[in-house]
């Protein structure tokens, strides 16, 4: 049955997240970007919301609520509406923990998940992107060779969010047994921060979302035990993991796009030229209506992908559609939003240039969050 209706619980969560994102994230966003650092304690504050632990099983100390990619997509949109950099930082542990939960063996869950159910922010992350202009997640260059019972990882990763403090990395790689390429050939390995052969770079300097610390990883013959391979001998459902990440990125882009739209509207109503508000001119009014159309389109595509994940279907196609579509439209909306503000869009007093840079960064990243 086709339905766009949120559950009562989802309505409550959305409201709470919207308020939190505006009060906490939006307030701090400009200074954080200028200082290229997350506000002190923001991660512990956000940890109290239980974004990661709520959907982890009771057996590891979690809230025991059903995993809901739809609810998570709703949450990510709201958090990114406040600030995408902080939204990503705050949910980076979920990237790691949800993957362990969804694809890990019982032993892996017992070993790694309790940490995410405590009082303090537990930093962990996933390493997907590789520094190449032709990076393709379906054709990873990071490899895992079998050695004895274990594996040896080699390769390079970058744009690893929260890598400056993550205690563990889930590193995506191709095992040499896996034939060919494709999403099914993806494997994931749990790599501790202190693994021999793992080099972690300084914090990277990026175009947008400067408050979000990212690092590069160099893996030189990193030797790992057999239990480091997520899912054990079965490995993981790579297509599903990527679909989760693509859907999450799409949700973030909906949030950023909505932020731009909702900032541009009152601005255009306030700003007067030639005797009337610029919003009264069709060139501006239609730019804004197009944003409204596209924010809607983007959100429904995102929800459709999240719903496919939630009902455990193959979500590869809807997630790809959500990802590519939102990437293009988010950039366009940020671009047009800046144009509506004119010179003021270029000035750092307004947040639009921040979203413009964030959009260009976010729209090339598909692996910075999970639903």
């Amino acid at each position: 049955m086709i339905s766009f209706g949120l559950t009562e619980e989802q309505e409550v969560v959305r409201e709470a997240m919207r308020e939190f994102a505006v009060d906490i994230f939006r307030e701090a966003a400009r200074d954080a970007d200028e200082e290229s650092a997350l506000p002190a304690d923001v991660l512990n504050t956000v940890w109290e919301l239980g974004l990661t632990s709520t959907q982890l099983p009771e057996s590891v100390g979690g809230g025991g609520e059903a995993r809901s990619p739809i609810t998570n997509a709703i949450i990510l949109e709201e958090l990114a509406f406040g600030d995408p950099a902080m939204a990503i930082a705050a949910t980076a542990p979920s990237l790691f923990a949800f993957a362990i939960n969804d694809f890990g063996t019982d032993d892996q869950k017992q070993a790694h998940l309790p940490r995410f159910c405590g009082d303090k922010f537990a930093a962990a992350t996933v390493a997907v992107a590789e520094p190449s202009p032709v990076f393709d997640v379906a054709n990873l260059q990071t490899t895992a060779q079998a050695k004895g019972d274990g594996f040896v990882l080699s390769g390079r990763k970058h744009f690893v969010v929260l890598g400056d403090r993550a205690e563990q990395f889930l590193v995506l790689a191709r095992t040499e047994q896996a034939t060919g390429t494709g999403l099914d050939a993806i494997d994931a390995f749990i790599v501790p921060r202190d693994a021999a052969g793992l080099t972690i770079s300084e914090v990277e300097k990026n175009l947008g979302m400067k408050a979000l610390p990212t690092v590069a990883l160099t893996l030189e013959q990193v030797e790992l035990p057999a239990e480091a391979r997520l899912g054990g001998s079965d490995g993981i459902d790579g297509a599903r993991l990527i679909a989760q990440m693509r859907t999450a990125s799409a949700a973030l882009r909906v949030g950023v796009s909505r932020a731009v739209k909702e900032y541009a509207i009152p601005y255009a109503k306030d700003r007067h030229a030639f005797g009337e508000a610029i919003a009264q001119k069709q060139a501006i009014a239609f730019t804004l209506s197009d944003m409204e159309i596209e924010v809607n389109s983007m959100r429904w595509l995102t929800w459709k992908a999240a719903a496919a994940l939630e009902s455990l279907e193959d979500a590869t196609q809807p997630a790809l559609f959500a990802s590519t579509y939102t990437a293009r439209e988010c950039m366009k909306i940020a671009d047009n939003g800046l144009q509506v503000l004119g010179g003021h869009g270029f000035i750092r007093e307004h947040p639009v240039e921040l979203w413009y840079r964030a959009a260009r960064t976010l729209t090339v990243l598909d692996a910075v969050a999970a639903v």
């Binding site: 409204e292 389109s297 929800w303 459709k304 719903a307 009902s311 559609f321």
Partner: protein, 393 residues
């Protein structure tokens, strides 16, 4: 709860519609090339199909809402063929949507089974209905409305059994004076005077109507409210409410055809050995595959805006904004998609040996009738800016 899965009942209905739609498609080229002829009222091969609309009874709360399934059926029918689908005895005209949105219970019972067209546009008025010149005057002695005026671009106007038409009770009242009337073919003084020749949807006739002292019963005023609301009281919105269903439905017409275009293009590209699978990032795709997938995503996005508008209607929630969003999105998406499909197939796409070039012509009306894309943008902009017509026109 957010859900995009069809129920078994939904699927069964849509399977029926698609099977029958493919029968209609066999006739598509013939009636495109022979514009002067009307498609038959019944297709022999389709006799076994009960028609999806007659299967509406017996649906449960597990199934998609009536408006939602209506949009899906509409898309599936148009996926077969836009024009041949419109046959007598089926309430699938735009006027039927108006009847559903604004008619009284009695009117819906009496007129629901007829094919109803919708007549708004006049020689001197298109996007701005406040300029409607056709008049309706009540003859209290006979309890009849007397209609006078001319309507053009009436879709399915020749074949329809009747029409929902707009006329003004009082020109000086502007938009507030406009009412919708149900007029049956054969009413005295009602003449179908002309049939247009068009770029596309050729088998779906487009007519000109002339009303000369045309008399219709008093109860044929759609919705039954005879009083003229005060200016600014929003009374005109009652008339415009019709659009909250016809606009998503019009988008659904076009999206059925653009879906057909995508299906054909996929078949051809894959037949030529182009890999269109969904696994890879954009870097891993051929240019044709990347382009094709972006068109598919656009199709999906536009379909979802239609379903969203319909969903709100099923919930009894206002959907004025969402109806315009779906119409604007659908209208522009079908242009991009069909143009893109031809681009992908090259000269083959432009050949009349295949239906793609026909779909490309047929969908072009989507962004024009039932309010152009620009009008939809105006409505959306006014809504989000909280402007009235005097502040943004």
């Amino acid at each position: 709860m957010i859900d995009f899965n069809l129920s078994d009942n939904d699927k069964k209905m849509l399977d029926y519609v698609r099977t029958e739609a493919l029968v209609a498609r066999k006739y598509a080229r013939y009636y495109d090339e022979n514009e002067a002829e009307f498609p038959p009222e019944a297709l022999d091969e389709a006799d076994d199909y009960p028609g999806a609309w007659s299967m509406m009874a017996g649906r449960t709360s597990e199934d998609s809402g009536q408006s939602v399934i209506g949009m899906l059926i509409t898309m599936a029918e148009n996926w077969g063929d836009y024009s041949v689908r419109m046959r007598k005895g089926r309430g699938v005209g735009l006027g039927n949507a108006a009847l559903g949105a604004s008619g009284t219970e009695e009117q819906r019972t009496k007129w629901g089974g007829l094919l109803l067209s919708m007549a708004i546009t006049e020689p001197g008025c298109g996007s701005d209905p406040s300029l409607v010149q056709t008049t309706a005057v009540l003859d209290e002695e006979t309890n009849e409305w007397v209609l006078n005026g001319e309507k053009i671009f009436v879709t399915t106007g020749c074949r329809s059994d009747g029409v929902v038409m707009w006329a003004t009770l009082d020109r000086s009242a502007g938009r507030a004076g406009i009412k919708s009337f149900l007029v049956e073919k054969g009413a005295p003084g009602f003449q179908v005077s002309h049939k247009e020749k068009k770029l596309g949807i050729r088998a779906d006739d487009t007519a000109t109507y002339v009303f000369t002292d045309c008399r219709i019963p008093r109860e044929n005023l759609l919705g039954g409210k005879e009083e003229i609301p005060k200016a600014g009281s929003g009374g005109f919105r009652g008339v415009m409410k019709t659009f909250n269903m016809t606009r998503p439905m019009t988008a659904a017409f076009g999206l059925g055809m653009s879906k057909a275009s995508l299906d054909f293009t996929r078949e051809q590209l894959e037949g030529a050995g182009i890999d269109l699978s969904y696994g890879a990032d954009v870097h891993g795709l051929s240019a044709a595959a990347a382009k094709f997938q972006s068109l598919e995503a656009l199709q999906e996005a536009a379909e979802l805006t239609v379903l969203h508008a319909a969903y709100l209607s099923d919930q009894g929630e206002p959907n004025n904004l969402e109806a315009s969003i779906s119409k604007a999105k659908g209208g522009s998406a079908v242009r991009t998609i069909t143009q893109g499909c031809i681009e992908l197939l090259g000269p083959m796409g432009a050949s009349r040996e295949h239906l793609l070039e026909k779909w490309f012509r047929d969908v072009r009306i989507t962004d024009i009738y039932e309010g152009t894309g620009q009008i939809q943008n105006l409505i959306i902009a006014r809504t989000i800016l909280e402007y009235d017509r005097s502040q943004l026109s």
